[in-house]
Point group: C3
Amino acid sequence: MQFAGLIHFLDLAGTFVFALSGALIAAKKKMDILGMFVLAIVTAIGGGTLRSVLIGATPVPFLQDVSYLICCALATALVFGFSHQLGKFSKAILVFDAIGLGIFVSIGISIAFSKGLSNWASLLMGIITGSFGGVIRDVLTAEIPLIFQKEIYATACLIGGLLFLFLHSLELPSELVILLSAFLVCAVRLLALHFDLSLPKAFNPEN
Amino acid sequence: MQFAGLIHFLDLAGTFVFALSGALIAAKKKMDILGMFVLAIVTAIGGGTLRSVLIGATPVPFLQDVSYLICCALATALVFGFSHQLGKFSKAILVFDAIGLGIFVSIGISIAFSKGLSNWASLLMGIITGSFGGVIRDVLTAEIPLIFQKEIYATACLIGGLLFLFLHSLELPSELVILLSAFLVCAVRLLALHFDLSLPKAFNPEN
Amino acid sequence: MQFAGLIHFLDLAGTFVFALSGALIAAKKKMDILGMFVLAIVTAIGGGTLRSVLIGATPVPFLQDVSYLICCALATALVFGFSHQLGKFSKAILVFDAIGLGIFVSIGISIAFSKGLSNWASLLMGIITGSFGGVIRDVLTAEIPLIFQKEIYATACLIGGLLFLFLHSLELPSELVILLSAFLVCAVRLLALHFDLSLPKAFNPEN
């Protein structure tokens, strides 16, 4: 009961911060308020929904619990109301986004495990849960997804996900496994942003 | 029987007009005839297919009834045959598109209800059924989806969908509920186009 | 047993060559090595995954068999390691891509049949299996998908798919049907590339 409560709270927190990032980008792209809401929803639930569809766990979660939608509506209203001051929050948004990423990767792996998927498939589902909301957001705004371009993003998911699998194999309590691996994803992402870290690219003769 | 017949007729009519819009845009983008056909299919069945996948109603409808594909083929042939006169039809296309939007929103809600979804989840499925075929069409042609940019589009779906829920709660006959709410979506969309109405946008300091 | 073995071998071969094309395009777009891997995966498994989701055959195949992921990892490593010489391989890549297209169309139709879909729906699933990995790859890199733009691509799938249906109706051995129709897709695609063939486009007054 308490464990399910923790998961649900983390899930809604992750939904809220990702919805903030979607609504913010929509405002920058001069979309109207309903467009902001739609992009907030897609960003916040896109990753978890894709995971559910790939696993075959339908109807997808956001259709079964109105809380997700309410989180997205609150985030949209907040961005709309404070949009003249958004410049001040851009750093906070990156922190929130990293928190959301960590939460969603951990929860994604945890849910995939509960559906009986193997270790590596669960890891993949965690990465998809964390990162594909942002991918869909970028595709809908006609940008090359950030995940493909620069900075440690999927890498942070991968590192935190591997920690999840390791701690899980030690049979530690699920709450601890989820919180520690979410923390690691978040920390790696923030460190990469702060120190401007990136992975090597293929040599490109056209450069 | 008669009710199912009405739904099926409306569904095919909506498919046809959306396929027209997809084939038309493909022609403008200089795609070849098979590309036109593919874009017509994606536009016409994209919204309903996404709804079915999210609900878990698979195999998706267009795989079970060849009529949808035939509608798309007819629309493609029509656009291909009359492409030198398409300029004359651009206003008619907007009207057809609004009709398709109204039909698909109503049918989408109705189908979601029949699968046991809640009011708000059914409303969301109606909006997705109506608008996401166009979203996918715009993504595939590398445009920012119209739904995010301007004009009352998702808003028309939302208003008509709310009427659907209201009339449904009065236990009016399903045919009447579907036709009235489809009409409202269509009317709101056409009025918005005619009077160039739009929703407020977030204040943007970069403007 | 032997038949399933042949299918699996062809499937992995197709996965590998499509992953090569995804990783190659990622390298050209200056993505980092993990971005290359993600794009390789999406390109290689996108078509088959969409097919499985539309049919309702979940969890999708790549979650149940780690071989697909290993093929993508090998292809990514190969592209990364030899990226300074990739210019030399661009023609070979087109040949591999055509081979992958043929394999995936045949396998897609075969799998759709085994799920009880009708002839035309199976044909459609074959075309989607073959071509939508590339569509998703192009959408994620913000390009208008090649399938919509030029050259015989979906057409090659269609022609080979029709041969599959014809040979299947003659009750020939499945292995033969799959290999012959895969060969035809591949041959039509390579001939179209070599002779620069394309389908007619709609007359466009703006040209």
